[in-house]
């Protein structure tokens, strides 16, 4: 299929379809991770109108939990359990731990400030974020912990499946499929269950929801649990792909995911998913065709352009007039 000779400076290696698909696959992988993280920002904002700055740190802790489970089960090179079990346990522990952490943060850092001016919980969120970064550095050291998942099954998880021009690593497939499964589960939870209906009602009109007898505190707690558990899963995925975790890994991922939530329309679940994929793909193409130095410029330029065209994001609805 040859090269696309459109842009000067692009060489014969980068201007091929296989290279293009590699970037796309890398972008979708990264994007599904951002999407999982963006969901938590969006769901919490939908109900509390709070930007949960500590969400990236919940992701970081989830990533550490994944690492400790991996290590406790013998490490990547010689795990004591089959790989499927190992991965499932890492995800389960990361999600549970992050979920509980999110609930604790809401209980102790946000709930006492719920009727305070809106700046107060925002500052509290920043405080929690720094606190968790420092705590992780203190407890786990400043040297990144290595997942070494290249070592799993002699590195075979990083082998590629080839379909024509299209190639995907098993590890990327694992990440994308897990993310899709989790997002489908969330969509069903929100659309079909009683607690899901309560979440939607509360998100639309908190006071009216409480007038129906919905225990708002419980809905908020549940929302934090679910959103944080998804962040925990994202943290484990991050470790699997990028091979390591440090105390600051949540900052960058959190920023991108927050951008994704805004691009998609904050408060919208569909928007968070779509925004995550968009940001992931944009970042991968910026890195692949320009330079990784430009990735943030491209991502935030995209944010500005989309917000100029649609101030409420791609799937956001303009705030309804409430009298």
């Amino acid at each position: 299929m040859g090269g696309i000779h459109l842009l000067a400076g692009f060489d014969s290696f980068t201007l091929t379809w296989p290279y293009f698909f590699d970037q796309l696959v890398a972008g979708l992988t990264l994007g599904s991770l951002y999407a999982l993280l963006a969901l938590g920002y969006s769901m919490v904002y939908g109900i509390l109108k709070l930007l949960n700055f500590a969400h990236g740190e919940v992701f970081m802790i989830g990533s550490y939990i994944g690492y400790f489970v991996l290590t406790a089960l013998g490490g990547a090179a010689s795990p004591d359990v089959p790989i499927v079990v190992l991965l499932l346990l890492m995800f389960a522990a990361g999600m549970l731990g992050s979920g509980l952490l999110g609930v604790a943060i809401e209980r102790f850092a946000y709930r006492p400030l719920r009727s305070a001016p809106r700046i107060a919980p925002l500052i509290s969120a920043l405080g929690v974020s720094f606190f968790l970064q420092q705590l992780a550095t203190l407890l786990f050291g400043s040297i990144p912990k290595q997942y070494n998942t290249f070592g799993l099954h002699n590195g075979s998880l990083f082998n590629r499946i080839t379909l024509g021009n299209f190639q995907i690593q098993y590890m990327q497939l694992i990440v994308v499929v897990s993310a899709v499964v989790l997002m489908l589960a969330l969509t069903q939870l929100v659309a079909r269950t009683k607690v899901g209906r309560a979440m939607r009602a509360t998100s639309f009109d908190l006071e009216a929801a409480s007038m129906m007898g919905i225990d708002i505190d419980r809905v908020i707690m549940f929302t934090f649990f679910v959103g944080s558990a998804l962040a925990g899963a994202g943290g484990v995925m991050n470790g699997l792909i990028f091979q390591n975790v440090n105390a600051y890994v949540g900052f960058n991922a959190g920023l991108k995911a927050f951008t994704a939530a805004v691009v998609g329309g904050i408060g919208s679940i569909k928007g968070a998913m779509f925004g995550g994929l968009t940001i992931g793909v944009a970042q991968a193409f910026a890195t692949g065709y320009l330079s990784s130095a430009y990735q943030d410029v491209i991502v935030f330029a995209l944010l500005v352009v989309i917000l100029l065209m649609r101030p409420t994001g791609l799937f956001g609805t303009p705030a309804l007039q409430k009298v």
Binding site: R197, A201, F204, D205, A209, S210, M211, G213, I214, V323
Partner: protein, 235 residues
């Protein structure tokens, strides 16, 4: 008559603003009481205090013989209160059916039965069950808001200005439903600015003025009361 709901010495604040001042009122089992007053006199705040959405700083709320002052809203709803809020407050992006389900949120098993009751009485609601509530007309929204409140078979139904924003024919329809519900034995506290209409169907009434109860009595007496007319003309 034993009181179903009793407020005694209620003082409610929004921050520093003292809204309800020493409000005491009673509603008997099955009684229809109207609460009248001009704009910003504290009518909605009274309903929110009854539900516990706004806490009373001092005073007591008793419901069904139980002191619920320190109880949360969900508890009070579970004991048999329900509300048709001001401006209806339907969940616009959710379907009519989902809105009705929210009305029976604490009901569990009673829900199916409640839905069937609503459907058989109001086939129109059944036809519209999959429509998004936000796309209903104002009158339809009012009907759904009333159905939603009745889903839990409440002992006490609070209604905040059910006639607001409705065409005269729909106002009449709303008052007919209020009378039906009353006839079925449900106690009601109906907030209205339309004093004549509200008192014509009520057993008793209270009049609020800037957070204080200034008049109370049998509906017939209030209708004839000189001060009430003055209050309404003078506001």
């Amino acid at each position: 008559m034993s009181a179903l709901l009793e407020l005694s010495g209620i003082n409610t604040y929004y921050g520093q603003m003292h809204i309800l001042q020493d409000v005491s009122l009673k509603i008997g089992e099955g009684e229809l009481v109207s609460l009248l007053g001009g704009n910003a006199s504290g009518k909605s705040t009274t309903l929110k205090t009854i539900l516990g959405i706004v806490p009373a700083r001092t005073g007591n709320v008793r419901f069904g013989g139980e002191d619920v002052t320190a109880r949360r809203t969900s508890y009070r709803i579970g004991r048999g209160m329900a509300i048709v809020p001001e401006n209806r407050r339907l969940f616009a992006p959710m379907t009519v059916l989902e809105n009705l389900e929210m009305g029976a949120y604490l009901q569990g098993d009673g829900m199916k039965e409640g839905l069937e009751r609503v459907y058989s009485l109001f086939p129109i609601v059944y036809e519209r069950r999959q429509q998004l509530a936000g796309t209903l007309s104002g009158g339809e929204q009012q009907m759904v808001a009333m159905r939603r409140a009745l889903m839990s078979r409440p002992k006490l139904l609070l209604m905040d200005e059910p006639s607001m924003g409705l065409a005269p024919i729909l106002v009449e329809r709303s008052f007919e439903i209020i009378q039906q519900v009353h006839a079925s034995g449900v106690a009601m506290l109906v907030v209205e600015q339309n004093a004549n209409m509200a008192l014509s169907i009520a057993d008793r009434g209270y009049v609020l003025s800037t957070g204080r109860l200034v008049l109370e009595g049998a509906a017939k007496e209030l209708l004839a009361h000189e001060d009430l007319r003055k209050a309404y003309l003078g506001r």
